[in-house]
């Protein structure tokens, strides 16, 4: 990525691709929340950054002024490629989402739990005997691609391909339109072949389901199906991969929390909610389609808004002791999965995967810590999670625990 002009002021010239933001955004967000709750930048043709919980909520619930047709902040505003239902608004959104919801309820997701557990165990088998590993590369990144591949009914060997698309679409694609368009074209071709195959021989998977699905009695066109599949793939991979990585990163840095979860595995689901609060990976964009005011600030039509659910989750006005991770926090009204009609479709899938991933890891590798002088690499852009996470395991950690 080419060097970007340095940020002069976070309140009036922020850049979510700035290395300081990528490395550790929390001090920046804390400062913005206190001093400039609705920040702005002229970069990316004009973007506001909304960080307070109440403001994020107000924007998320207002489809009249804020459209979901563009949800990614990109240089130069390339034409939007629809991925229903996330890029849809009322009234079309409701039927599009309703079609998918039954496949993603907590009960429906429970069917994938044994398979997810088997995937985690298979990944842990070669890791557990070692003295070190990369928690992101060897474990976190492998789980969501295999689970979503199983749900879609595509080859579990496609992990590298899926991750390359995620990287090109969500990271490189912010500044490199060719990379974004290449990923879109490749995904379209990939799914077109899969859809054609399901039309000949339907199977028990989500692609077969979408190939036959109807809204108001009419079959979905191929553009709709491939858009939805692209959404399921992209949103199902990097988010959960980021969260599992962030959980391991936290536990590697907080031995007391790690030991408590090893001793009290029943606390893991509650801890997962707190990790979702503290390390929510996804910041979602909206396009301002009608001038309006939020928290006293005029927002210009045509510009974008970044809805920082991750920052909102650390707003002291909404959460006591907001900057501290409290693994038995309750209640916990976090907004990691968004608010309003675009509540993450895959939230129960994500919860299941993160919980199972932690249960299996802690059962097999109760002792681990950051590798000495570890250089953790974080993804850049609207999705935050560790991409390189060097850990030392078991007895090799010596006096570190």
């Amino acid at each position: 990525m080419p060097t970007r002009p340095p940020v002069t002021d976070w309140g009036s010239d922020f850049d979510h691709l700035d290395p300081a933001w990528t490395d550790n955004p929390y001090p920046i967000w804390d400062e913005l929340q206190q001093k400039c709750p609705i920040a702005h930048t002229d970069r990316y043709m004009g973007v506001y950054f909304v960080s307070r919980y109440e403001d994020v909520r107000a924007v998320a619930l207002d489809a009249e002024h804020f459209s979901s047709r563009a949800i990614a902040i990109r240089e130069g505003r390339p034409p939007v490629v629809p991925a229903p239902p996330i890029t849809s608004g009322p009234p079309a959104h409701s039927a599009q989402k309703k079609l998918l919801l039954p496949a993603f309820t907590p009960d429906a997701i429970r069917r994938y739990e044994p398979q997810t557990r088997a995937i985690c165990r298979e990944l842990l088998e070669p890791i557990a005997g070692r003295s070190s590993c990369d928690g992101a590369v060897d474990y976190a990144q492998e789980i969501p691609v295999r689970v979503i591949a199983a749900m879609l009914g595509v080859s579990p060997q496609s992990g590298d391909l899926f991750r390359r698309w995620v990287h090109e679409f969500l990271e490189l694609g912010v500044t490199d339109r060719n990379a974004m368009e290449r990923a879109v074209a490749e995904m379209r071709a990939f799914f077109a072949a899969e859809i054609a195959e399901r039309r000949k021989t339907p199977r028990e998977d989500l692609i077969s389901f979408l190939a036959e699905a109807r809204i108001d009695g009419r079959k979905l066109d191929d553009e709709h199906i491939t858009g939805t599949l692209r959404l399921l793939l992209l949103a199902g991979v990097d988010t959960t991969w980021s969260m599992i990585g962030s959980c391991l990163w936290h536990l590697a840095n907080h031995p007391d929390d790690r030991k408590r979860l090893v001793a009290e595995p029943a606390l893991i689901p509650t801890a997962v909610e707190e990790f979702l609060r503290a390390y929510a990976p996804a910041t979602v964009g909206r396009e301002i389609v009608k001038e309006t005011q939020i928290n006293g600030r005029q927002l210009k039509e045509g510009e974008m808004v970044m809805l920082s659910f991750p920052a909102a989750n650390r707003d002291p006005a909404a959460f006591p002791d907001a900057s501290r991770v409290v693994i038995d926090r309750s209640p916990n009204r976090h907004a990691a999965f968004g608010l309003g009609i675009h509540r993450c479709l895959g939230s129960h899938l994500a919860r299941m995967e993160i919980t199972v991933a932690l249960q299996e890891w802690l059962a097999k590798i109760p002792d681990f810590a950051m590798a000495p002088d570890a250089k953790v690499t974080w993804s850049a852009g609207q999705l935050r999670g560790p991409r390189i996470l060097p850990l030392v395991l078991g007895g090799s950690m010596g006096q570190q625990s």
């Binding site: 919801l101 309820t105 309750s330 209640p331 907004a335 999965f337 608010l339 939230s347 129960h348």
Partner: protein, 81 residues
């Protein structure tokens, strides 16, 4: 906004109600109090029965309301008795 102290009500004095327009299927209420809430085929929550909170579940129902990201759960204190 969440866990403000509440006076303990007698059995059957609390009723819980979900705002169908607000509920988006986060399903936190069911995770916290499956005795009081159920999910429909789309994963949206409904109160069980007429929403009367049985004795002993007063704390749980407050927690479910405090956990709901959409502020969709109302707790109604019944009059009289």
């Amino acid at each position: 906004m969440s866990s403000k102290p509440h006076r303990l009500a007698g059995p059957g004095l609390l009723r819980v109600q979900i705002d169908r327009e607000r509920c988006q299927g986060h399903a936190r209420c069911v995770a916290v109090a499956s005795e009081l809430f159920r999910l429909d085929a789309f994963g949206n929550a409904h109160e069980i029965g007429d929403g009367t909170v049985p004795a002993g579940l007063e704390v749980k129902v407050r927690l479910a309301a405090a956990d709901c990201p959409e502020l969709a759960i109302a707790i109604i204190e019944k009059q009289g008795a």
